[in-house]
Symmetry: D2
Subunit: 382 residues, 4 copies
């Protein structure tokens, strides 16, 4: 009987819930090399925390996240808090010899991200992970496999958009609209995902940001349960054009104000021989076109990525076209983390702090470009 | 602290897994009136059963399903076995005063189904349920709400197809291809679902089957792990035209040989004022068209059925367009069963044995019509 | 300089317009073996006819369709009138030695259709054509080529629907709602098309109609420009299940009351190796799935049927994905008629009276089956 | 009987054909205030020109385009030549008092475009038109009407892409790949269209280009019918981010190397209350979402823009969902030109040289931004 991985979690909101579910379900659906044990969850609000821990089967709970560092049994600390807390929490846990899985974006600021990257480099016995969960959407993982195998030839164009519509003026203030807590708005929340996806699928890195625009359309928001308004100082949208080292052109757009697009995380990549296209709102499907033996029937292929044996992660779940949903990406990632902590290889590459730091540099370059009204090479962003 | 519902399950294959997951997840995602406890799982193959029970957190396991009848604590027995076993198992459990949740179709034969219906009528203190899980796909539940609220007017046409493609000649023999075990092939497996969906969404009953055709294209199948072949004596497809009491015309088609359609469970309903359309392969979406204030913009509306407060079951899960998958329908159903066993109303009607018996009569009428080459009124099928 | 084909047309309504356009455009877009000359158009309403003739460039017009028989120059008479007139007009023109192109359905009644078939057999020097225009939608012609070439293997299922929604109670009376003029309602108008398409694509014939239902939901209609109402005695919808000689099962549905479906002429054909799917509302596209070298990328292929050299009729029109529309099917057919009248082969088979008579027998079988509540073999319908 | 408009055309290639068809069909499908007469077509290659003129019914043909200036009867000269010829031809015809309809882009260079704009301003009795044909795709015209009527509120985001895939290395050299003849590559050919569409639909003007990238991936091309290669000195793709005066952010991308996208001219516009989305590959459809009375059914509406009385240009063509194609946009535009030349208003605004010059300035700003690696305000581009 292999030794269980004792996990501790910080945070009990949206991501706390998604991660708890992943740690729970991984043992139900995957034949992993080691079982997972939900050891302790930490969060500030004890009133909410106790029922949360009970509901999700965490053995213990704590209102002091620092206390996790001293629980010997805990092997992995999972950081699911707002962005401005990532650095301090991750650094503390790395210093205590824990493995750390951190929510994305790596941090709210490039300085924080750099510190985390440096700490991860030093902590040689610790593994780090960043929850870019969409890499483990089977359709995205398949896109990675196909593109890296040369099925679309050399990459010429990347076209990525992450469009949501919940950020209108009637949405009240929250930490997500405060720069001091979130670092940025749609940019760090959504562009982080699609920059990571573009890097993951192509295996290439951004060379230059050619131009960018950021906008805050809703400048003030109501306070929940209180009178008055509060200033939103993050972007509602950021879009930018870039090019990759291999020569491909790219565009990225993140917004919370695209009416009718609730979670439209899309990417299309065109190569010299073919293309792939993904839209999270139909997340079980990858569209692909490649060279064809018969030009009469050549066309975009709608691949239902649910075929055990053929598609990543599909054998863990249900029969063909018995589709999976959002949270399954987290469970798939938990399964790969378990593998790595058992000295096995993940099914597709897992982002660590080093990797996520590269994404953070791209985000920073876009902000600088927008502010300074100029193109900027990534080599200028440290 | 409300008294937990102790559940026992018979079966540990595909449906055993789906049901185990549902009983597990219901407490994570729903604030139900009573907690659920996974008491005992019973199945024949002990070698498989023990790891299954451990993986899914069943407290006990048994190789004798009859033993469940005498476990006082167990309130609900969940029957997830092949169709020919449903009747005996359900009758035994009803006789023992248990509530019974049975996989669909209700039974392999109409005679079995009738017996079950009769037993359920007699067992007044027992509740019965049939796992027509697609009723609790949010898009289907919403279709039910819209149609029953008159949003499409009077129903004129129902057009339902359940197309799969796994049943080709290379698929080996299994209980699903044996009439003595399954009762029928695609008909009981797939038409059962869409006949139930049509009845559920419209609230109307089939009046007449006008004609039907059943075919067995693959007459022999290889034996898994053995030499030789075995005869398949169930249908590969059944299609029929019908009309409903309210006057609507209907067509139903089930097949396991529709290349490229892996789990295409679709229904379209046209009424005097509008229409609804559903396709399980894009299960989070309902297409709807109704009367419009502005004829310039009238068109099919693609409703992403994930909006908490607006769409059935959506508040249990994730933010908008963070889509759910196949197994969530089972969890939604488990939540409604918990409600009913707590004397509350389900969010949308739950099928019981009485209700499922009506679906079984329609299936029987189609088989008779195909065999006798004649139209048949439902009133002739007892 | 080849001798021009002098065409005469009877009818100046919807089909008169579509046919006039086709005869006009064929010379613009096709390099045909013979030019086409628009000689004479005949219709009853002279007030409308003269401007119609002028607009469309017909050299002459006549209020007496019989007069066309005696114009020596006229080689082809094109019959674009209501269904009850087809037989008399076609017979007269065949007797006069003309080639005849007749609107579909061949006739309003099977008796008329048989007479036309017989007359065509006798008139050995005359060619006959029936305007089943959808055969020459490039996507449908491509489906024919692929299926006949064995790309989907043996045909197992045919699933065809022609759904429109213009026939609600607010639509006033017209000849289309009168049995004496139209023969039938949606059945002859729409099922005729999809039965022809199924026969065309598969090359197979209906063996048996297993059951059918016909309904007239709107029994009375207002008179345009007058008080009072008039009885509609045609079907609003007819649906039926059938099987083909080769063993395939089939369903056909035609309705004018399917809210939201304005011209949804769809067919899907599943074979042992693959499938094709067509929907006229996206008429430039054929969906195809076949055997794949790489199971990871296998999926429905969206073929944009506009590639010159690869897709039927595409080289006559515009560059790739510069899509064509409804009337182009007629022009494509005119081009093939010109070929046949020049002793060349059409690109894909053209339906003649003999061929269209087979479609008419299927329609008749469905009506008999609906009326007599029984299955009926095609061999019983003469 | 109103006086006919005598039209002369310069050019007999792709656009010569599309324009000839439009002038032909306008009288068939529209009840215009004046008839159109195809007077003279001029082009260099007489061997091709004579059969072209005959095929399309041009009364005369000429190998000297300048001669058109002196034909008194000719009222409108239609310029359908490569971009570097537009200025001289248009100026000559304006000087001769002709109305001028010019293919897009207005010119190959901003200097040429400015000259044309200035000449048009001076020639007060002449009307000018630019063939931005997609404005008259009914779905695009409807988008214009809806957005200008406030149906989506204030515009926040514009997202436009024109993706083609014919420009790979196997495509031989042509004028389209020569800067001296075409001015630019995908930029002037495709971005011109989508910049015009964005301006047309929103009624707003670009304020700033924030950044741009242009690429020539295929630097040499084979010569048709000859040995050797020739340098391509135009862009294969240009993408840029911009903002509009009203505050909206925008992105534009044009490429000829997007495998699988043959003519994917798409635009999505998000406003404070709703959105519109268009894709030319499904050109009869506009997707729209606006405020809803019932949040349960709110979703993108698929509008089939073929409803006479409700949708622009629909009453000229066929019944609902009897869809139209590419060339119909030109015919719709011809109908509006005829109206303007009859002192009537076009159905939606027609672009003249002044208007097209604004589009040309945006294209220029993007090129400058790409070259100088900086943001640029439109006010800096004269």
């Amino acid at each position: 009987m292999p030794r269980p991985i004792h996990v501790a979690l910080i945070g009990q909101k949206f991501m706390g819930r998604a991660h708890s579910n992943a740690w729970h379900q991984v043992g139900h659906f995957f034949d992993g090399p080691r079982p997972v044990h939900l050891h302790t969850v930490a969060a500030r609000d004890q009133g909410e925390l106790i029922p949360f821990a009970k509901r999700w089967g965490w053995d213990h709970c704590s209102d002091d996240w620092r206390s996790l560092a001293s629980i010997d049994e805990v092997e992995l600390v999972d950081v699911g808090t707002p962005n401005h807390l990532h650095a301090e929490q991750a650094l503390t846990m790395l210093a205590a010899g824990k493995h750390v899985a951190c929510e994305k974006p790596l941090a709210g600021t490039l300085a924080d991200a750099r510190q985390m990257r440096d700490a991860a480099r030093k902590a040689k016995s610790s593994k780090t992970f960043v929850w870019f969960n969409y890499r483990r959407c089977p359709a995205v993982a398949l896109a990675h496999q196909l593109v890296r195998a040369g099925k679309i030839g050399s990459v010429l164009h990347i076209r990525a958009q992450y469009l949501q519509d919940w950020g209108g003026p009637s949405t009240p203030m929250s930490w997500r609209f405060k720069k001091s807590l979130a670092g940025s708005g749609a940019h760090g929340d959504l562009n982080a995902h699609i920059v990571d996806m573009a890097r993951f699928i192509t295996g290439d890195e951004v060379h230059e940001v050619h131009g960018a625009v950021a906008r805050t359309f809703v400048k003030e928001r109501t306070l929940e349960g209180k009178r008055g308004k509060s200033r939103s100082d993050v972007d509602d949208c950021v879009l930018f054009v870039a090019s990759f080292k291999g020569g491909a052109t790219a565009s990225f757009e993140a917004t919370r104000l695209a009416c009718g697009n609730q979670n439209r995380n899309t990417i299309e990549i065109n190569g010299t021989k073919g293309s792939v296209r993904f839209d999270f709102e139909d997340m079980n499907v990858l569209h692909f076109i490649g060279p064809s033996d018969d030009p009469r029937t050549n066309g975009w292929q709608r691949i239902m990525c649910t075929s055990a044996g053929n598609h990543p992660y599909a054998d863990a779940w249900w029969p063909d076209a018995h589709v999976i949903g959002y949270e399954h990406c987290f469970t798939n990632m938990a399964a790969d983390i378990v593998k790595v902590l058992s000295r096995r290889k993940p099914l597709v590459p897992l982002p660590d702090f080093e990797d996520a730091y590269q994404t953070q540099r791209v985000l920073e370059a876009a902000l600088v470009s927008a502010r300074e009204r100029t193109a900027i090479r990534l080599s200028e962003v440290k």
